[in-house]
Amino acid sequence: MTPSREFALPADDRWARASLTSATMIDVVDVSRRYEGDQAALDHLSLHVAEGECLALLGPSGSGKSTLLNLIAGLDRPTEGTVTVGGTRVDRLSEAAAARYRRATIGLVFQFFNLLDDLTVADNVLLPAQIAGRPAAKSRRRANELLETLGMDRHAGAYPGRLSGGERQRVAVARALMNRPPLLLADEPTGALDTASGTEVRKLLADLHADGQTIVLVTHDEALAAAVATRTVRLVDGQVAA
């Protein structure tokens, strides 16, 4: 089910997403992740995500959802197996290469937003482009465009602490989209929001997907998965549940 559109991405983004084919975007093969002395967080898990797809990862706490997301984002490395994203072997990347990979490929949205409180909304959104060394004027135009699209342009000069949870998450989404990443990873994006704000973010993600954005979503929220995801995978004890 696709909700009615509220957030229409800029034309460039829509074109970029539409140009993607249904080739594999993420290829996780026989991946395990064990922590010292602990049980495996992921246990010989394999998973494929196509370009343009919106995959929801569901499962109880400790099932390995966030660990899998971290592996795809290059934030962590598997103990065994391979993770390939857009043709790049993420599990083999050095820290520096992983950082460059995230700049170019990944947009991350967190449960608790992870906005920097001493920066304004506009400066938060600009940050990924600035870290990547993108031209300033172009980046500013892009940030304004995103804030306008997501209805946050009037808060551009405000600090995150003054915004509601839903507004903060919209800023976080804008920041995640700043570098036009082919892949958006969202970890419990509605987990810290009230019902109204959760609905708002749900609509936003649905609209992004409608524009062709590949999304992997980690959530406990069955309603969110049902509303946004084209496919749902349930994890239990680090494995895909049958």
């Binding site: 971290n70 984002a73 934030l75 962590d76 820290e95 520096a96 950082a99 460059r100 990979y101 995230r102 700049r103 170019a104 990944i106 991350l108 967190f110 608790f112 992870n114 920097l116 409180d117 001493d118 920066l119 304004t120 400066d123 600009l126 940050l127 990924p128 600035q130 870290i131 990547a132 060394g133 300033a136 600090y159 995150p160 602490g161 920041r175 570098n179």
Partner: protein, 743 residues
């Protein structure tokens, strides 16, 4: 396990920051111990060493040709205490049969360094002489280290088996009594202590009581000499001591405050479980005291170990005996360190206790107070690379930590600026002393065959300018004893003696003198000096010579009669081949050699090494203070670092951000520290000189070139960046997923 112990244990689990806290405290405590010892050693060094050795108030030498051993021993009854008689010999030695003999050494025969009531000589190295052929040398500028073999005129040898110091300066060397007799005894030495020895009048009475023809040395003369010498260094060492104490207190306070702040969230958890405010305060104090106490103990051990070489250098500088590890300095340091820790931890703990539990729990999660937003906004608008500008704005979120870091860097920079300026001044003083050597190209020594050296030099092709100089004792009205004089033959204006006032003499009958001479005689430039053996000498200039001696320079023609000219200095014409010139003079059987800069003066070398040591110590304390602050800051911001990394910040960019975070305190600290060090130098160096009765030319004070000052201003940045490098590396290596999970 008690709740308090839970809080404390939690903090200890943070190994890296605990190690840094211990290291920073240890370094600061080491600096405190050394600073305390420096201040103690600089306080009346001669009086303390004299008291420690039970120094001799009067040292008497009886000619053995006129006085028997019994007669000398009988004089003991005239003093409150006396020891002796000890046999005395004058020994002419040389280190190598091919080299000229060394100045004669007065050696005294003693069976031990002095277990008696007077002149307990301190053995600084090796052991006391036990048998024939062994000597213990007094440690002076003429270094004769243990193991040196000295050749005697009869072909036998003396081996240096130890180095010692008598504050009363009773001998230049000590041998066994039998050896003293064998070396050719010339007299007996008696040492006396009196109940009344504090005035010249009393000492004159005691001298007179010994009878005529007895050579005596009063402790007052030695004390005055020592006062001149030590006054030169006391302000220097005191300044280092005070900077060290201030820096150490600042670093320990900052480390403690950071330790308590880092446990706030854990305290929140414990409060939620029922910890009372008073328990929170106790937990905070205990938590700071544990690493603080470990650091303090390590620092005391380090300080006591480093004190041995440092105090040895200081004793050499003062001509006294090394101050041993002083329990009261250690005890005072421990008490002061623990007091600073408790005094910083208790208020910080009280603040944590008053914090609402929900706020304490939310530390690291809730939006902060809004401090630093202006700086963050301004930094975001610069064209600097974003990781750099993010780092620059970072310290403004915690003004108290920023201020502490800034002061730490400023004090480190002050120490570096002061030390470099001091080294420059001392080098300048040394250069002034060596001016005749460094401004000439060739040094010629006279021959024994009566050759007119001046005439040979004048006739030699390539000679540009030349002059000869030699010593002369010159009587002067206003002085009880003759002044040390230097007479010159030829035009010595080019020798480059540094003038404090007036000009160099241009004709016989004129003289230039040192500040010490003017002070001692009460004369001024333009006055006339009269005395036996010469006509009136008009004072036309005040020359700087780096000592407080009464020294007078004049033309050889001003003093009637033959004067020994012991050195001729020659400046060659441009383009003259020095080697060929030397060969030509040597062919005329003259001892000619290229001038060379003499080895650095022992005292200045000692001062240089002391200053370098103390500067490195203080800069290291400052660096560790910064390191601790950055570690705490990085820990506090580890989650933000994770967020940055999740957006694609590379490890290199992360390191740049962390190092840039000390940029502002580093720069401001440098900019504040340089003028502070500059002012301290401009106060301490003239104070040193004034204490020693020397007037320094402006050039010895104005040693800071603008480029040097600019470079020193950057020293703050270097200290700060040096302290931030390690935590920058840790931040760069932090796994993003781990950082994001950190609360």
């Amino acid at each position: 396990m008690s709740a308090i112990r839970t809080v404390v244990r939690g903090a200890q689990r943070r190994r890296v920051s605990t190690i840094v806290i211990i290291a920073a405290t240890a370094m600061a405590v080491t600096a405190t111990v050394l600073a305390g010892l420096l201040l103690a050693a600089s306080s009346a060094p001669f009086a303390n060493a004299f008291a420690k050795q039970h120094g001799a108030h009067l040292t008497a030498f009886f000619d053995s040709a006129k006085t028997t051993k019994e007669q000398a021993a009988a004089t003991a009854s005239q003093a409150g205490l006396a020891i002796g008689p000890f046999p005395v010999a004058m020994v002419v030695t040389r280190q190598d049969p091919r080299t000229p003999p060394l100045p004669p050494i007065k050696v005294v025969g003693r069976t031990d360094p002095g277990s008696g009531s007077i002149d307990q000589v301190t053995l600084l190295a090796g052991r006391w002489a036990r048998s024939k052929g062994e000597i213990v040398m007094a440690r002076t500028d003429l270094m004769m280290p243990t193991g040196t073999t000295l050749q005697l005129p009869d072909g036998s040898t003396l081996t240096v088996v130890g180095e010692a110091r008598s504050v009363s300066q009773t001998a230049q060397g000590w041998v066994t009594p039998d050896e003293a007799a064998a070396l050719g005894q010339i007299g007996w030495q008696m040492l006396y202590r009196y109940a009344d020895a504090g005035s010249e009048a009393a000492m004159t009475t005691h001298r007179t009581a010994l009878g005529t023809g007895v050579q005596t040395q009063s402790w007052l003369e030695i004390r005055n000499d020592a006062a001149h010498r030590t006054q030169l260094f006391v302000p220097l060492l005191s300044a280092f001591g005070l900077i060290g104490l201030a820096l150490a207190a600042l670093v320990i306070g900052n480390v403690t405050a950071g330790t308590v702040a880092s446990a706030t969230r854990r305290i929140g958890v414990m409060k939620a479980l029922g910890l009372t405010p008073s328990q929170v305060v106790r937990a905070c104090v205990a938590q700071a005291l544990i690493p603080g106490l470990i650091g303090t103990i390590l620092g005391i051990v380090g300080g006591d170990l480093l004190a041995v070489p440092l105090m040895s250098d200081v004793a050499d500088l003062f001509g006294t005996v090394p101050m041993s590890v002083t329990p009261w300095v250690d005890a005072l340091t421990i008490a002061a360190a623990l007091l600073v820790i408790a005094a910083t931890a208790a208020p910080a703990g009280w603040r944590a206790a008053r914090l609402r539990t929900v706020d304490a729990l939310a530390v690291g999660r809730t939006p902060h107070s809004g401090r630093g937003r202006v700086a963050a906004g301004l930094a975001a608008r610069t064209r600097l690379p974003r990781p750099f500008s993010l780092g620059l704005a970072q310290p403004f979120t915690k003004p108290s930590r920023l201020l502490a870091m800034l002061l730490t860097v400023a004090l480190g920079t002050t120490a570096a600026t002061f030390a470099i300026g001091l080294a420059g001044s001392l080098r300048h003083i040394q250069a002034a002393d060596e001016k005749p050597d460094t401004s000439a190209d060739v040094l010629v020594e006279p021959t024994m065959d009566g050759t007119d050296v001046g005439a040979v030099i004048a006739a030699a092709p390539g000679t540009g300018k030349y002059y000869g100089r030699g010593p002369a004792d010159i009587a002067a009205d206003g002085l009880r004893e003759a002044a040390r004089g230097t007479v010159t033959s030829g035009d010595a204006r080019w020798a480059g003696y540094e003038m404090l006032a007036g000009r160099w003499y241009t004709s016989p009958g004129e003289a230039v003198v040192t500040t010490g001479f003017l002070t001692a005689t009460g004369k001024h430039l333009g006055d006339t000096v009269t005395g036996a053996g010469h006509g009136p000498l008009t004072l036309v200039g005040e020359v700087f010579d780096g000592s407080a001696n009464n020294h007078l320079y004049t033309d050889a023609a001003s003093i009637p009669g033959p004067k020994p000219i012991l050195e001729w200095y020659v400046k060659l014409k441009p383009g003259t081949d020095r080697a060929a010139y030397l060969a030509a003079l040597q062919n005329r059987h003259l001892q000619a050699e290229a001038t060379r800069t003499e080895g650095a003066d022992g005292t200045l070398l000692l001062l240089d090494s002391l200053t370098a040591f103390l500067t490195v110590l203080l800069v290291s304390v400052a660096g560790l203070g910064v390191l601790n602050a950055v570690v705490l800051e990085s820990r506090d911001r580890v989650h933000d670092i994770g967020v940055h990394k999740s957006m694609g910040m590379t490890p290199k960019q992360t390191a740049v951000m962390v190092v840039a975070s000390v940029g502002v305190p580093g720069l401001i600290g440098g900019v504040v520290g340089v003028p502070a060090g500059y002012l301290l130098h401009h106060w301490a160096v003239p104070a040193m000189a004034h204490g020693a009765g020397i007037r320094l030319p402006d050039s010895t004070i104005d040693v800071y070139a603008p480029v040097l000052l600019a470079a020193l201003a950057l020293a703050g940045l270097i200290i700060a960046a040096g302290g931030a490098l390690l935590p920058a590396g840790w931040a760069a290596r932090t796994r993003t997923a781990v950082a994001l999970r950190t609360e």
